[in-house]
């Protein structure tokens, strides 16, 4: 039996092992910049609280002097607390809540989307209609409704933002999964009577990681923005806790006098969200090129 002589076939451009998605992402400039930016802020937010009070001499709730004075490095805030201290302490809760909300949304949304795409029929209709209902209210308004009823507590915010992410994630998952489900290798697995959950896990999920990672990035960026916005409105973290969103609101009346109370947290949030979006963009470009070479 002769082995195949590949030279009898017309030369087809065959990829050498395409570099893994991760490597492809990291090769791009956006990813490097994004990771740097996000990294700096994350380190700041995580380790900031640990540096108090020895770095600045104050905790985030101690009174340091008169309100809106330019003493110290960045002055005092609306109640006379040290701005730098409050700034160092203000990022962790934001990150934690944003991560939790995103995680919740991704989990529920991905599961719902895949099930809807795979099962089809009535389950699909139910999930899609449920999506439509949840999507009929802007995320922020939904959050406000929940907070009216349940109060501005951490778990409420995480839960409601997570729930409002789910339909958006489900929609993307469903459309990506639908494209994969019509592929013949899924039909082949069905033909071999592979259990349904296994088909979803091994055949569908690995082939939709591209869009899912993009969604993850987008949702994370939005979570950070939403939670900071709620705090800004005074409906998230409550005083006297230190929180970037809250700080911005507290100090904006005196922006002309003592801008640092506003600028530091604004800068931090801006860098964080832009960095996160740059990473998401790099992921999107990387997974798009994978699609083309398939």
């Amino acid at each position: 039996m002769s082995t195949i002589d590949t030279h009898t076939e017309t030369p087809v451009t065959i990829d050498e092992t395409p570099p893994g998605l991760l490597r492809r992402i990291l090769r791009q400039r956006q990813a490097k910049v994004g990771l740097a930016l996000t990294g700096v802020i994350v380190v700041l937010a995580v380790f900031g609280p640990l540096l108090l009070p020895w770095l600045t001499g104050y905790t985030s709730t101690e009174f340091a002097g008169r309100p809106f004075q330019p003493d110290g490095l960045f002055g005092t805030d609306n109640l006379g607390r040290d701005v730098l201290s409050r700034f160092l302490d203000g990022g962790l809760s934001l990150l934690v809540f944003a991560a939790l909300a995103t995680g919740l949304g991704m989990l529920v949304g991905t599961a719902a989307g895949m099930l809807a795409a795979y099962q089809g029929g009535w389950l699909d209709s139910v999930i899609m209609r449920g999506n439509d209902v949840l999507l009929a209210l802007p995320q922020l308004v939904f959050a406000l409704l929940a907070i009216t009823v349940l109060g501005p507590q951490g778990w409420v915010v995480v839960l409601v933002i997570g729930i409002t992410h789910a339909p958006r994630v489900a929609r993307v998952t469903r459309s990506a999964a639908s494209a994969v489900i019509t592929e013949d290798f899924v039909r082949a697995s069905e033909m071999y009577a592979v259990p349904r959950w296994k088909i979803l896990a091994k055949d569908v999920l690995p082939n939709i990681t591209g869009p899912l990672m993009v969604e993850l990035g987008l949702r994370m960026t939005y979570s950070i923005a939403a939670i900071a916005s709620l705090s800004f409105l005074g409906l998230g973290m409550q005083p006297p806790a230190a929180d970037w969103g809250l700080m911005i609101n507290e100090n904006r009346t005196a922006m002309t006098l003592q801008p640092w109370g506003v600028f530091l947290p604004v800068l931090a949030i801006a860098i964080l969200t832009v960095g996160s979006n740059l990473i998401t963009d790099a992921v999107a470009r990387a997974s798009a090129t994978v699609e083309e070479s398939k």
Binding site: T10, E183, A188, P206
Partner: protein
């Protein structure tokens, strides 16, 4: 005189002369390495090549058009007046496109603007190039050209949207658009791929008529050598960006000089079965039903069947989607070790029938029986044993393997579901299957993205073989492959049949393969078998009018 060098002699006036054309990607890789040919009025040159040969690039270059990522790096395209098309400005080239030199696209569904009525789209060519003196002139010409291509020319028809037309009609609109301004040169890019045989014959006829009546110089790009002999005067064979052979049709096709041309011609299945494609002795009516014992291996022994005449029996298979009837009472018999071709054009229901048999589709009424025992519709309801015995291979090599899994993992899937094999045993079985399909053991850890189309199809076949089936259902498994690759897969399938003694249902639309792969032939039309019997009999003595019509329209070398 057929030559290997480009023919520079110009006996008749040349409408378009391509000289030493070089095209490269924007990154520098050259993909056309100095291509030369001449197009003469009233004569058709066929540019033949498999995928990746560069034929479409060469064809588009005749219009001075290069797709994104490609650039012209050498050579010229000269018109009758001697001017080099590629030296003209953008505006200059645009003036010629659609006017003096026009293009008929491959896939009209993609090339017709779905939001524009077909009349408007054809008129656009006339307006842009300023045909005639008035709008009325142009309207007349529109009506005229529609008649020329065999379409109705009334106002109602002109107002139709592209999606309201059939594939053949859309293709003819494409030809009308190309012909409206009475071009001197027409470049046709695989205009009949995807059309069924009868429509293809009509379209080819139309083209021939237009070209000879109006002395148009034609370039016909294709991969189908059989069509070439019907429609072209001269042939140029392309391989990897070069023309390897060029000359008059009968010379190149019947007395090829270059090794590649010979290989290509050898791989083209001919209806008459006069030559064998591939190396294994052809499965024809002369060959008795194979009754060879499968080689001893780790597999479990074949179950003892009750002594029935046929292995697979399909009775009164019916299936409808809403009001559309796809299968209308299909009856089929397949003997042990036998090879049956299920022939049908698009829309005949052949894929649906194949899927019902294999259990991929469970919506049908009627019965599918294996060795006398009726099978449940749908594989999930069938026993593991029954699932093993009937296996199915998909058409698309791209789609049938999970791109995120190695070949080994994909081929192993059926083994996971068949119960108690240890990991070592599974690996051994996978290696054995790969060996059977002539893939080296190293393929086990590669991903589909690293394999060519033919290799992927072999892996898919390996997956079907790993459970030692009695019946293999092949659904258009070679339709997406180049001709030479097709020949090697046909070869493989015949080898497998001889070695394993399994029966095969080979579903296809390509009747030319009949004598190369099947002992019996069943012709499917509108959900029903209209002709069935030993291959030779059906081909030489067709009973049904549909079969007869099909046979008259099949292009032959």
């Amino acid at each position: 005189m057929s030559t290997l060098a480009p023919n520079m002699e110009q006996q008749t006036e040349t409408a378009l002369q391509v000289t030493d054309l070089r095209v490269a990607t924007t990154l520098g890789t050259e993909i056309l390495h100095g291509v030369s040919f001449a197009l003469k009025p009233g004569r058709m040159l066929a540019l033949v090549g498999e995928s990746g040969s560069g034929k479409t690039t060469a064809g588009l270059a005749c219009l001075g058009y290069f797709r994104t990522g490609l650039q012209h790096v050498g050579g010229s395209v000269q018109l009758t007046d001697g001017a080099d098309l590629l030296e003209l400005s953008d505006a200059g080239r645009r003036g010629l496109r659609g006017g003096s030199i026009s293009y008929v696209p491959q896939d009209p569904a993609l090339s017709l603007n779905p939001a524009m009525r077909i009349g408007t789209q054809i008129m656009e060519v006339l307006r842009v190039h300023g045909y005639g003196a008035s709008e009325a002139d142009r309207r007349n010409r529109l009506a005229e050209v529609l008649t020329d291509v065999g379409l109705p020319n009334d106002a109602a028809y002109q107002r139709r949207w592209p999606h309201e037309l059939s594939g053949g009609q859309q293709q003819r609109v494409g030809i009308a658009m190309a012909f409206a301004f009475r071009p001197e040169v027409m470049v046709m890019d695989e205009p009949t791929t995807g059309l069924d045989v009868t429509t293809q014959a009509l379209v080819l006829q139309t083209i021939h008529q237009l070209m000879t009546t109006h002395a148009v110089a034609g370039l016909y790009i294709t991969h189908d050598l059989a069509v070439v002999s019907e429609v072209a005067d001269e042939v140029a064979v392309m391989l990897a960006g070069r023309i390897v052979e060029q000359g008059p049709c009968d010379q190149v096709l019947h007395a090829p000089q270059h090794a590649y041309t010979r290989k290509l011609l050898a791989a083209v299945p001919d209806l008459a079965g006069r030559h064998r494609i591939g190396e294994v002795a052809a499965v024809t009516g002369a060959m008795p039903i194979v009754g060879v014992e499968p080689a001893a291996s780790v597999r479990r022994p074949a179950a003892a069947d009750p002594d029935t005449a046929s292995l697979l029996s399909v009775a009164d298979l019916r299936l409808s989607y809403g009001s559309a009837t796809v299968l209308d009472g299909l009856n089929l018999e397949l003997g042990r070790g036998e090879s049956l071709m299920l022939l049908g054009e698009s829309g005949s229901g052949k894929t649906t029938a194949a899927r019902c048999i294999a259990g991929l589709n469970d919506d049908y009424t009627g019965s599918v029986s294996l060795a006398g025992k009726k099978l449940e519709p749908g594989t999930r309801k069938r026993s593991a044993e029954e699932r093993h015995r009937i296996q199915y291979v998909f058409q698309s090599p791209l789609s049938s393997l999970n791109p995120r899994r190695t070949i080994g993992e994909s081929v192993e899937v059926p083994l996971h579901m068949s119960g108690t094999f240890s990991r070592k045993q599974r690996r051994a079985l996978v290696l054995e299957a790969l060996d059977q399909v002539q893939l080296a053991a190293s393929f086990i850890d590669r991903r589909p993205g690293q394999l060519s189309g033919g290799e992927r199809q072999r892996a898919a076949i390996a997956r079907a073989l790993v459970n030692a089936p009695s019946v293999l259902v092949c659904d258009e498994v070679t339709s997406a492959l180049d001709v030479s690759v097709q020949a090697s897969i046909i070869d493989l399938l015949r080898t497998l049949q001889v070695e394993t003694g399994m029966a095969m249902v080979f579903v296809t639309h390509n009747i030319a393969l009949a004598r190369h792969i099947s002992q019996r032939l069943a012709v499917l039309h509108a959900g029903r078998i209209v002709d069935m019997g030993p291959t030779d009999e059906v081909l030489d003595n067709p009973q049904h009018s549909y079969t007869r019509e099909l046979l008259t329209h099949v292009p032959a070398l």
